[in-house]
């Protein structure tokens, strides 16, 4: 069936997953539904302890069985030890057909690939995957489907009952004996536990894993004791060096600085750039550079940001310290500066993944965004973006908050260099649609800037900013003139994954890759 972004979603997939094709970004607006609820085991006896000796013991206590759904968060990013430690113990039990429902998976989790191959893990639900798990999915090793969800979409799926988590394993930088978890204060600070909050609320069993047991009560807690069944102490929950990096030096790459400058010039020429505006940006070189250059202009003009949202890195915290931002509202910390800021600055506040981006609660923060600055592997002539599958068809990235913020913001700006080697970033059709073009307003490249024709108001702003304006087709043509027109990738027939739109419909599918055939 052809969905609202023109992608053909096979009937079999819709039936297998009991899902509907994407019908438009706001198609489910106003819909009423009843939230799911977890099964709770009452802890009435005050003499009962939640402490469990080891992960091996806790996986037995949780009674993990074939076909269950296990969840994890990704706040430790590429420094995470939790997923591998837990899966190793579950693997020893010999259970099969597990579904991993993670807020994201990365290269740190390459060791679970053999468990995909031997059928321990048969389904993966994640914001995306990198490294060998992505290869395993793309080459058809995963027996079931990989479901890729945005951060907001994952919360929606859990809260609405599309997925039910049997056991959530939550790594916590600090925890007390009764399960109060905080993201700061231990050996492996990660700043916030935003994406794990929904797991704690909706999983039947919740296991806290920490390497820093602290005296009771560990408050204010990111995740409260009332949702936690067991507490396990291990030597290390992660590698601090990979959880949070030192402050990245601002880029010296002129290409990125140039795109950042276009971005800033555009932003300040829109009517949304006024005192109290709200803003989110990523951690790529161009995004960071645009935050820095925007900060200078805010200072010059005495304009303050009311809300800085999202994954946070040092440069935003510096603006907060300089009094140029009123509040930073945070779901993920990318560097030590951000972690230090959230632990010390009262105007830097942790929120839950639902508050951040869930499209079907009673109103998420993303809906209040004026600007979001995003990156993309590919953007097509319909302004659709692809941030999950590379141009060879391999699963290699994550939606993260991309579709959520794009849908919410008044002005969605995507920065992408026109070419990555020989691969054009601006193309006729993206390999896989992960963010619908109707939510993307401006595309900034090193060769010029294109405004979505659906936004003539923003086109006027771009003209006022004296940007090198091009149509999206012109940008594509410039790219193809340099690289040659790429051949469409030939995939195998089997659908190995689906890209879930934030409202739970299927926006695109991911097919198994196959070896290149010359003729």
């Amino acid at each position: 069936m052809i969905n609202a972004v023109g992608r053909d979603i096979p009937e079999k997939v819709l039936k297998d997953l009991n899902m509907k094709p994407f019908a438009g970004t706001y198609a489910r607006n106003g819909e009423e539904y009843t939230k799911a609820a977890p099964k709770v085991r009452a802890w009435m006896d005050p003499k009962e302890s939640k402490m469990v000796e080891s992960i091996a013991d806790v996986v037995k206590k949780c009674n993990i069985k074939d076909g269950m759904t296990i969840s994890f968060h990704h706040h430790f990013r590429e420094g995470d030890y939790i997923v591998n430690m837990v899966m190793e113990e579950i693997h020893k039990l010999g259970v099969k057909d597990l579904t991993i429902c993670a807020s994201s998976l990365g290269k740190a989790h390459n060791p679970i690939v053999p468990m995909i191959e031997d059928g321990t893990i048969t389904n993966i639900q994640s914001s995306g995957v990198r490294g060998q798990i992505g290869e395993a999915i793309s080459t058809g090793k995963l027996k079931g489907y990989a479901i890729m969800r945005s951060h907001g979409g994952r919360v929606r799926a859990i809260e609405s009952g599309d997925v039910h988590i049997d056991v959530a394993f939550i790594g916590a930088p600090t925890c007390d004996c009764y399960g109060n978890m905080r993201a700061v204060g231990g050996k492996s600070d990660c700043g916030v536990l935003s994406y794990a909050y929904v797991d704690a609320q909706y999983a039947d069993k919740v296991v806290a894993i920490t390497d820093t047991l602290v005296p009771y009560p560990n408050i204010p807690a990111s995740i409260s004791q009332v949702n936690v069944d067991y507490v396990v102490v291990v030597d290390e929950i992660g590698n601090p060096a990979k959880i949070a990096t030192g402050a990245a030096k601002p880029t010296t790459d002129v290409r990125k600085i140039m795109m950042a400058e276009y971005c800033t010039q555009f932003v300040i020429n829109t009517p949304y750039f006024k005192d109290g505006f709200s803003y989110q940006t990523g951690v790529g070189g161009a995004s960071i550079a645009s935050t820095i250059s925007l900060g200078k202009i805010m200072k010059e003009r005495g304009i303050k940001m009311g809300l800085g949202l999202g994954g946070i890195a040092g440069p935003m915290c510096e603006l907060l310290e300089q009094g140029l931002i009123e509040k930073i509202v945070d779901t993920q910390d990318f560097d030590l500066k951000a972690i230090e800021s959230i632990s010390t600055n009262p105007n830097h506040i942790e929120i839950t993944g639902s508050e951040y981006a869930n499209p079907m609660n009673k109103g998420a923060y993303v809906n209040q965004l004026d600007f979001v600055i995003l990156a993309s592997l590919e953007v097509d002539t319909h302004f659709n973006c692809n941030v999950v599958v590379d141009s060879n068809g391999m699963v290699t990235g994550a939606q993260g908050g991309h579709p959520d913020t794009a849908a919410g913001a008044k002005c969605t700006i995507v920065i992408a260099p026109l070419l990555q080697g020989r691969t054009p970033a601006i193309c006729t059709d993206v390999t896989t649609v992960t963010t619908p073009g109707e939510t993307v307003d401006v595309v900034i490249t090193d060769y010029g800037v294109a405004v979505n024709p659906a936004r003539p108001d923003l086109l006027e702003c771009a003209k006022a900013a004296k940007l090198p304006l091009k149509t999206i087709e012109e940008l594509r043509d410039m790219a193809y003139a340099i690289t040659g027109e790429p051949e469409p990738i030939k995939f195998g027939d089997r659908v190995v994954g689906v890209i879930e739109a934030r409202d739970g419909t299927i926006i695109d599918v991911v097919r198994q890759i196959k070896d290149y055939e010359w003729d």
Binding site: T252, V254, R255, M258, L419, D446, Y447, A481, I482
Partner: protein, 301 residues
């Protein structure tokens, strides 16, 4: 006389690029330098001289540099490489050839002779490809005037500071004192011969303030532009060479007055109470060109 519009084109920024590096030569025009200098000389390892030429040839033939001048720096006349370098430059039809380590008028003439042979071989009309000379030795700098006057194809001379300071038996100090005489001598010779003059590179990429100061100084001395080693330097360089609004208005008045009075046969006159004659004309014209290049000129000249 040759009639090549490139002779007096603006060359505020001339950026070196290793002709052997595909990633560098594929789209440097997005940074909007006035000229790129595709390097066959120092940047290319001795065992890659041949490979660099194939790469250069196809770049010249197939990459659209969007109007950015394509200068090729060939290997010095003391090497065995330069004659084939000239053949590939002419066959690929670059815009200009930069002679490394030029020391005399004879060097320029030798290059021009090889160019003529190649032009005949590849059917390129004489005069379409220009020459510039890099002065990298005390002898070259001393001979600046004769080099400037050696060929009508030669549009200008450039100081190459690294080798020059070695020849002087000193080092680059950052104060500019070691270049003071060479810069003065070269700009004087260039202007005397009606040619352009370009300053040496500034290699400390982290010292943007130092780069700005040096560019401001050489602009004040009369230089037309600067050799650039990284795109980071282009914006600052162009900013320095952008005339002020006051300068633009003044230049516009001079150009208009001169055009008008010349038609009436008057040689000397006043603009805003200042005595003006024809000698102000080239400078004023250049100010207007600089303003146009910087996108700040909105007049009708």
């Amino acid at each position: 006389m040759i009639n090549n519009p490139n002779l007096n084109r603006l060359r505020r920024s001339m950026m070196f690029l290793n002709a052997q590096k595909p990633g560098l030569i594929k789209d440097p025009y997005i940074y909007k330098p006035d000229s790129i200098m595709l390097d066959l000389e120092d940047a290319v390892a001795e065992n890659q001289k041949d490979a660099a030429r194939y790469s250069l040839y196809h770049a010249l033939k197939e990459i659209d540099y969007h109007g950015v001048e394509r200068v090729v720096r060939i290997n010095g006349l003391e090497t065995a490489h330069w004659k084939e370098d000239i053949r590939v430059c002419v066959a690929g039809h670059c815009d200009s050839i930069r002679i490394s380590k030029c020391e005399s008028a004879a060097d320029v003439i030798a290059v021009e002779e090889e160019m003529k042979k190649a032009e005949e071989e590849f059917g390129v009309p004489h005069g379409e490809i220009l020459i510039m000379a890099a002065l990298e030795s005390t002898k070259g700098v001393l001979n600046a005037l004769e080099i400037c006057q050696a060929s009508p194809l030669l549009f200008g001379i450039a100081l190459s500071g690294g080798d020059y300071t070695k020849d002087l038996q000193t080092t680059i100090s950052g104060t500019g004192v070691e270049f003071a005489w060479a810069r003065g001598q070269m700009i004087n010779a260039a202007r005397c011969a009606g040619k352009q003059c370009f300053d040496t590179v500034f290699t400390n990429l982290d010292d943007m303030e130092g780069f700005r100061r040096e560019t401001e100084m050489i602009k004040m001395m009369g230089f037309d532009g600067k050799s650039i080693v990284n795109p980071r330097q282009i914006a600052v360089c162009h900013e320095v060479f952008t005339p002020t609004e006051k300068q633009i208005i003044q230049a516009e008045k001079i150009v208009k007055e001169v055009d008008e009075k010349k038609a009436m046969g008057i040689g000397v006159f006043t603009v805003d109470g200042k005595m003006i004659d024809i000698a102000f004309y080239p400078g004023a014209k250049r100010t207007i060109e600089l303003a146009k290049a910087a996108g700040v000129y909105e007049g009708d000249l």
